[in-house]
Symmetry: C2
Subunit: 326 residues, 2 copies
């Protein structure tokens, strides 16, 4: 059976999936790339894992192409450009790397657009004309689906929600500036807030049992679930930052729904409850109670994997009931 390899390239790990034409994901794997110190080791590690993954499923499936979702990419040029959370040079010709190595058709889009396409084609966005999707991972990205279409912007950079400046002169960001939303409200931003509070305060917390170097956003989530006050306060802080940013996006777009995707969205109500509370506080009175904020209808990372894979399916006109707008 023909399948497409969908890949969500991330700063901490990349996610692979074998995807059918209807968007269903048959097999998945995560590739840890945290230890890679440069682009050579990054891609040799990633390619070796992909080959192993494809080999494993070779007897049942035939891979007809690769769809890539990646942060900070210039889709038309096929390069990663000044990618903030990677050990890379300023411009990395990722499309060429994949084409040369695999000899398959490869399509590239920004990770946020991939997830947005996944949500629009296979998730809760199927029934909506106007929505915004925000990916909360190592960084923050996202995409815009407006008037029933993906909006990529003039140079393909639309949806860079992580680089909205929320605190001029604030925390240093991987993009070279300061005070970007992702320095506070991504999984990494949440971790920074926790470490700051553990170091500079003396509030009790079960997180003190962990070594700082090992502490991850997931630990903060688990501690919050157990009622750890510091962890709950940090989620409230992230919720306030996100709630305010989403309220501003609502005044800008007036969407029907806002979807949260990516690793941090797995925190579900621990994150959604404060986000919704602050959203309703900050949103334009005319829009109060009118916009739903939900986690992605697709499972963790599946929106981006399925959306990236859909580039191949749709480009090859293998889907006959293809809606040009989506």
């Amino acid at each position: 059976m023909d399948v497409v390899l969908g890949i969500d390239i991330g700063g901490t790990s990349s996610k692979l999936g074998l995807v059918q034409a209807d968007g269903s994901i048959i097999a998945k794997r995560s590739v840890d790339t945290r230890k890679c110190r440069n682009e050579e080791s990054f891609f040799s590690c990633l390619f070796a894992e992909i080959e192993r993954f494809l080999e494993q499923h070779h007897s049942n499936y035939h891979c007809i192409g690769i769809g890539l979702g990646a942060p900070s990419c210039d889709e038309q040029a096929g390069v990663l450009e000044k990618a903030a959370n990677f050990p890379f040079a300023d411009r990395v010709p990722i499309l060429q790397f994949f084409q040369d190595h695999f000899g398959l058709p490869v399509y590239l889009t920004k990770d946020g657009n991939a997830a947005t396409l996944g949500e629009a084609r296979y998730g809760a966005g199927q029934y909506l004309e106007n929505f915004v999707l925000i990916t909360l991972g190592t960084g923050i990205g996202g995409g815009l689906f407006l008037n029933g279409q993906l909006v990529k912007g003039h140079n393909g950079w639309a949806g860079e929600f992580g680089h909205i400046t929320v605190e001029p002169g604030g925390r240093a960001c991987g993009c070279g500036r300061r005070g970007c939303l992702e320095t506070y409200a991504s999984a990494t931003g949440l971790r920074r807030t926790v470490l700051q509070r553990l170091t500079h305060g003396d509030q009790k917390s079960i997180l003190r049992r962990l070594a700082a170097s090992e502490l991850e956003a997931k630990d903060v989530y688990l501690a919050a679930k157990m009622g750890d006050a510091l962890s709950l306060e940090v989620f409230d802080d992230v919720g306030r930052r996100l709630g305010l940013a989403l309220a501003n996006l609502a005044a800008i777009f007036d969407p029907q729904a806002i979807f949260l995707a990516g690793g941090l969205a797995a925190a579900e109500d621990i994150l959604l409850t404060p986000v919704r509370k602050y959203f309703e506080t900050f949103v334009l009175p005319q829009l109060q109670g009118r916009i739903s904020i939900e986690t992605s209808a697709l499972r963790l990372n599946e929106a981006a994997i399925a959306g990236a894979a859909s580039l191949v399916w749709h480009h090859k006109n293998l889907i006959t009931t293809h809606d040009e707008c989506k």
Copy 2:
């Protein structure tokens, strides 16, 4: 000759224009509504002025309909809803008022959308697929033109840039919340900053020669032109607020251009120079130097008047080379 009456309804004054099918404005008038204390006096004053205006041009032109651009309006319901800068009830059925009084076809859209349509159909936006327009008047509004289409949002509230919260807990806004962009960066916001500095500081300024109640944004512009330091500093402050907000919009949309319209945009370089400086400081490195910020190609208020009038021309299919997308 057939013409359409285009009206830009504003909190301080409303602007009328007789508009031809090609967007050219034959005659204009401004109606001051500052002294109107409720909706009855507002509309009786406005209607009387409109009748006088139409009467004046009656012998040469035949008015076939009215196009309205108004802030805070629910286009589908035909009402002004919680309009922040008007002496109005929560919901004012403006469409009905106009239809009943004039017995002509009347079409309504948000003022920001009217100006955006004007720019897209008759101004510098004619050649662009992706741009944002910001109106800087008593309040701040605007519109989105993305993928070659006007984006109105789900409930028609897209483009409410004035109600982006830039300072949580900051200045009180007419919308009932605090810290909205328009409390700092509209003509009214600029005036508030000037009065605050004149009252709480002792810096020399030629503006001290004016009574506070008479001081207008235009006076601050004229003083800045003459080199008044306080006035220049206040324009720098407005430029910083706007530059940051526009840089955030750039990260969200990646537009080709951002147009400034409305009264404050008449300050041209006095405003544009600091706006561009702070925009380039705050914008995503990948977008530096790539997005032009200009004042509207159409004369003051003409974008909104012509855009509002175009609703009638396009709705009546009187334009045969009508592009459905625009």
